[in-house]
């Protein structure tokens, strides 16, 4: 390709961009202008800010945990089931391990599960949604029926059964199971967005000038689906973290890493409810609640701003 051709292509891209519909930032601006629901948007941005602060805090904890923590989470001590004190802010467990340290180190795997499972779910969900929405016909029919099934079998039961059948209670297996059971809702949302995009003028124009299907998907459909996928991805992280902790609590979680769910499982099995120390069973759960709340806040705020009506379709 000569320089001139490159220049021409770049120029044509610049010219063609407006045809490709409003960009993501345009959409935010547009929805703010079009709405005028100032109170709603205030709540939305306010939630967004708090959410981002919460997640930033926990990411900070993940990165710097090793520098600050005086104990290791495997350090077994003589102080068994000690109550909360300055040395052990959350008390110690049945083996004398410091619960605060365990909770802090549990952050890493818990968040990791959330992000990786989300990536798997979003990958499958977006792909399936694009195919089913764009080509329609028998593909759509087949995919949606399959999707119905995943939405129908109670999610916890399905996860429990698959984890039990895998019989490998490690991080990889659990993340994989959470990932492959969590894509159906995303697929639905993406599908309905693709359906509405397909009938817009800029896609018809692209067809009229002879663009291929893959080109239209790559240049016109996919960029416009991204904002929704993004908002949904954040909520999916929250759900994945919840799923992992529930599985762990029921004794089906990963055994090779420390997560909040596992700390809770130990606490419940050592009957910390009756025998204490109470922070052992309260604090890891509180961490889950706060992180999930953070992600929900961000997701909710984004959703409110980007596509207020889509969720109900």
């Amino acid at each position: 390709m000569t320089n001139f051709q490159k220049h021409l292509e770049r120029a044509s891209r610049r010219v063609l961009r407006p045809i490709a519909g409003p960009t993501w930032t345009d959409k935010i601006a547009l929805s703010m202008k079009g709405f005028g629901k100032i109170t709603d948007l205030f709540i939305a941005t306010w939630m967004g800010r708090i959410g981002i602060a919460i997640i930033a805090f926990f990411l900070f904890v993940v990165v710097y945990a090793d520098f600050f923590m005086p104990y290791d989470s495997h350090d077994v001590g003589d102080d068994i089931r000690a109550a909360a004190s300055w040395e052990h802010p959350f008390g110690t467990d049945g083996l004398g391990r410091d619960v605060f340290t365990r909770t802090v180190h549990g952050t890493k795997a818990s968040l990791l599960v959330g992000f990786v499972a989300m990536a798997i779910s979003m990958g499958i969900g977006t792909g399936v949604g694009l195919v089913s929405g764009f080509w329609g016909g028998w593909r759509d029919e087949a995919i949606m029926r399959f999707n119905d099934v995943f939405l129908s079998i109670p999610w916890l039961v399905l996860m429990m059964v698959i984890v039990a059948l895998f019989n490998a209670r490690n991080l990889f297996a659990v993340v994989f199971v959470i990932g492959i059971t969590g894509w159906s809702f995303t697929a639905r949302i993406v599908r309905s967005q693709v359906l509405s995009l397909k009938s817009r003028q800029f896609v018809e124009r692209a067809k009229a000038i002879g663009s291929g299907d893959m080109h239209i998907i790559r240049k016109h459909i996919f960029p416009n689906v991204i904002p929704i996928v993004f908002a949904n991805a954040i909520l999916t992280i929250a759900i994945a973290i919840l799923s992992e902790s529930t599985l762990s609590f029921l004794g089906l979680g990963p055994q090779d890493v420390e997560t909040w769910g596992r700390v809770l499982e130990d606490a419940y099995k050592e009957s910390a409810v009756l025998a204490g120390p109470l922070p052992f069973i309260i604090m890891p759960g509180l961490c889950i609640v706060i992180v999930v709340l953070g992600f929900t806040f961000i997701g909710y705020a984004m959703d409110e701003v980007l596509n207020p009506k889509l969720r109900q379709r």
Binding site: R145, S245, V289, Q312
Partner: protein
């Protein structure tokens, strides 16, 4: 009306297809996944005894036959209502499940009823006073409980109301030694044991309903026909009752149907924490004992229940709003 019938036929066909697919997945999950069901059903005995039992199990379960034959057998058996026998209890799975499902239904029934009544009420309150302190309080309450692990919330309630203030029992569905029956004593005892689990489930599921009800009502209230209704001189009460609420009902119905799968998951966790011997308890037991027929049966009835609930919701939806076209 003709189109309604067409839609209905399509929905029923889809539901039927979904059930077939659930059965297919249910079959494949238990056959293709790593883990040998025949080995799982074999007791750990020394010597040749275990070997003989293993051989018998392989033959009994038909594991030596090709996969498509097994699949065919599975479908035939399922439709003939032969759902297998529990390895551990050596009883038909229906008996094992029937003994426990009653308690789960009791929990779910009471908590769902409370959830819908309270949730719709609170959602309306929030939507009516949008942006006011009431709305902010209710919405943030909703969001807070939306992301709460149900099992953890159950533990918190347990710590507060069963340990600190010993007002409610720690576990079980009734006092040990009592027999379920229709005496006043038994019923009050069951209700007393039910309070904390039901409270957990209700508050946990409330959040979703509140948020949906609020958002859909807020959406409806910005429509032009609401302005028209006010313009022709109707009072706020009349507008809400006659114009806003009926139109805001649709997303709520859909959500309730979609939520059933999640509510069932919540019931599992609550049962585990409170040692409430319902279907969740049976499932966890079955997982620990590798009692496959029970698991297979629970996946089947769980899936079928949700499919039927969704079908019902779709029919209700069409009845509520004739404009709805379901694809």
């Amino acid at each position: 009306m003709d189109s309604f019938r067409k839609v209905l036929a399509k929905r029923i066909f889809n539901a039927f297809l979904a059930i077939i697919l659930i059965m297919l997945i249910n079959f494949l999950l238990f056959r293709v996944m790593p883990g040998d069901p025949a080995l799982m059903a074999t007791p750990r005995l020394p010597g040749d005894a275990a070997e003989a039992i293993y051989e018998r199990n392989v033959e009994l379960m038909g594991l030596d036959q090709p996969l498509h034959v097994q699949l065919y057998k599975y479908f035939v058996q399922t439709f003939m209502l032969e759902w297998g026998e529990s390895y551990k209890h050596e009883l038909p799975v229906t008996t094992v499940v029937a003994n426990s499902i009653m308690w789960t239904m009791l929990l779910l029934g009471v908590s769902s009823f409370l959830t819908f009544v309270i949730g719709i009420k609170l959602g309306k309150m929030a939507a009516n006073r949008r942006g006011k302190p009431v709305d902010v309080t209710i919405t943030s309450f909703g969001l807070f409980f939306y992301g709460m692990p149900v099992f953890w919330f159950a533990i918190v309630l347990m710590v507060v109301f069963a340990v600190w203030i010993p007002a409610f029992p720690l576990s079980g569905y009734m006092d040990p030694g009592m027999h379920p029956g229709f005496s006043i004593d038994a019923i009050t005892n069951i209700l007393w044991h039910m309070t904390l689990p039901v409270a957990t489930l209700t508050i946990g599921a409330l959040a979703g309903i509140i948020l949906i009800q609020r958002n859909s009502l807020v959406d409806v209230l910005t429509e032009e026909y609401i302005v028209t209704a006010y313009a022709k001189g109707l009072s706020e009460k009349q507008v809400m009752k006659g114009h806003a609420t009926p139109n805001a009902r649709l997303p709520v119905v859909t959500t309730i149907a979609m939520d059933i799968a999640f509510i069932l998951g919540g019931a599992f966790q609550v049962e585990y924490v409170f040692s409430y011997k319902g279907i969740g308890w049976v499932t966890i037991d079955a997982i620990n004992d590798y009692d496959y027929p029970i698991l297979q049966f629970i996946v089947l009835i769980g899936g079928v229940a949700v499919v039927l609930a969704n079908l019902l919701a779709d029919i209700v939806l069409v009845k509520l709003d004739p404009r709805v076209t379901i694809t």
